[in-house]
């Protein structure tokens, strides 16, 4: 239901973009509401860090509102928006590399290890074991994503989670479509190797695959 509503909203996105371009502030606000979750999730998967993701999202939308009038082709709004987000992500990544301080909690946090997240279980109606498995799997997958190179990670997230077409990714990253596909291939291949190393195979996951 939500997806369909979102789709309808997306359908109207073109007119929304046109209005926002003309300086219509409510339209701009709606655009932000519509795209914030997507950009946030892109950045979150890129960094696996809520604060950085929030920062990137806010910067992206401020930049979007300022630069909307310079957008030539309204049809390219989506890839244009991701271009901004990608650039801010790269900027933040560069900053993070500059100051190599890692929170001690991230390096080694025995308390967190001893008390897994399911202690604060939310949806009690679901099978708790399955829920835990799901949570752990998601964590492992996200960590595996983080092990990929920035270039491959960008492509994999855009394709797998943002549902962009290869053409759109190529537009957003300003590279050729073949390069995107090649990065996607090696990204998936790399992920497979990482997951094998982490012992997440068809056998360990059993019937779920």
């Amino acid at each position: 239901m939500v997806d369909t509503l979102l789709d309808i909203a997306m359908m109207h996105a073109d007119t929304l973009v046109i209005r926002a371009k003309q300086g219509d502030q409510p339209a701009q606000g709606k655009l932000v509401q519509l795209w914030y979750k997507r950009i946030y999730n892109y950045a979150y998967k890129f960094f696996l860090d809520h604060d950085l993701a929030m920062e990137v999202s806010q910067k992206t939308f401020i930049s979007m509102c300022r630069n909307l009038p310079s957008l030539q082709d309204n049809g390219r709004f989506k890839s244009w928006l991701y271009t901004i987000a990608v650039n801010y992500c790269r900027e933040e990544a560069r900053k993070a590399k500059g100051n190599r301080t890692i929170s001690f909690d991230k390096v080694w946090n025995p308390e967190a290890e001893e008390s897994p997240q399911w202690e604060s279980s939310r949806q009690r109606n679901e099978n708790p074991e399955r829920q835990l498995q799901q949570l752990e799997l998601a964590d492992i997958l996200q960590e595996a994503l983080l092990e990929l190179s920035d270039e491959q990670r960008e492509v994999v997230i855009m394709k797998e989670y943002e549902g962009l077409k290869f053409r759109e990714i190529a537009e957003a990253l300003n590279i050729s479509e073949n390069t995107v596909k090649s990065r996607m291939y090696y990204g998936l291949d790399g992920l497979k190797k990482i997951l094998d190393r982490k012992n997440i195979t068809k056998d360990t996951l059993g019937y779920e695959l």
Binding site: Q25, N41, M54, I62, R66, E160, F166, K181, L188
Partner: protein, 288 residues
């Protein structure tokens, strides 16, 4: 059948972005190549796995963009700076007008002044009429000469007058001074005879005392000194005698030693002589 799909085509196929003929080609290839198909299936599995990660819910914070307004030409920074410079110049000029500031530059002079300048009073230079031209050189000479003569005369007279005055004053002062001096001397001679006697007597008694004291003091000092001298001398003599005795003793000892050495030597010589005298007979004896 040399066809082998590249990575791009495989990806496009995997995500359903390959259409028509190309799609069929890849399908056919995968049907014939099990290994490739399995590899792609593995990638498909990874892709499916990735789908397990759900989106995080997030609420978009309000984003305020302040400067989305249309910009008029007076909002352009260049215009603003130029206007501000112009305004400040105008302000300076206004202030200058009300304070009556004046800036002047003439030649090497740079002048900034406030208020009204007092009007310059023209300096009137009296004209000197050239009268010299009508005089000849002789006339000038004459004039100089005459002026010199009059000058000399006046100097002479003034000098004489001053000399006379000086003489008179010296004489006067001498006369008065000598009178005073005579009086003073007389007073001194008459008044002081008794005083001098008293004074001399006083000095004599004082001297006597001093000399007595001096002699007493020196006598005791000398006594002490002579005593000390005598004692020192006696000590010295004793020392000297003992040293001499020691010297004599050592000499005697050395003499004794010498005589003993001499004795020994003579004994040795004697014995050597005796042996040397005795030996040839013995050798001779042996030889014989």
């Amino acid at each position: 059948m040399n066809y082998k799909p590249n990575e791009s085509e495989l990806m496009a196929y995997l995500y359903g972005e390959l259409e028509g003929e190309a799609r069929k080609k890849v399908e056919l290839y995968l049907m014939q190549h099990d290994e490739e198909r399995r590899a792609l299936e593995n990638l498909q599995r990874v892709s499916n796995l990735l789908g397990r990660v759900k989106d995080k819910e997030v609420i978009a914070p309000p984003i305020f963009i302040g400067d989305a307004k249309q910009r008029y030409f007076w909002d352009v920074p260049y215009f603003k700076t130029i206007m501000s410079i112009a305004a400040s110049l105008l302000l300076v000029m206004m202030v200058a007008y009300f304070t009556g500031a004046q800036i002047k530059m003439s030649g090497n002079e740079f002048k900034i002044s406030f208020g009204k300048q007092p009007e310059a009073v023209p300096v009137v230079v009296p004209e000197v009429k050239p009268t010299v031209a009508s005089l000849t050189a002789d006339q000038v000479q004459e004039m100089i000469n005459s002026s010199l003569v009059t000058n000399n005369e006046s100097l002479q007279t003034s000098f004489e007058a001053s000399q006379q005055k000086l003489d008179a004053s010296i004489r006067k002062s001498l006369a008065s001074n000598s009178g005073n001096m005579d009086q003073l001397i007389r007073e001194a001679s008459t008044a002081s005879q008794t005083q001098i006697r008293e004074y001399v007597a006083g000095i004599q008694t004082e001297n006597m005392k001093m000399v007595k004291d001096y002699f007493q003091l020196t006598a005791t000092d000398q006594k002490k000194y002579v005593e000390a001298l005598l004692v020192d001398f006696a000590k010295y003599l004793d020392q000297q005698r003992s040293n001499d005795l020691q010297l004599v003793q050592t000499r005697l000892n050395s003499m004794e030693k010498n005589t003993s050495v001499f004795k020994q030597e003579t004994e040795q010589i004697l014995s050597s002589i005796i042996t040397s005298v005795g030996s040839p007979s013995t050798t001779k004896g042996i030889k014989n």
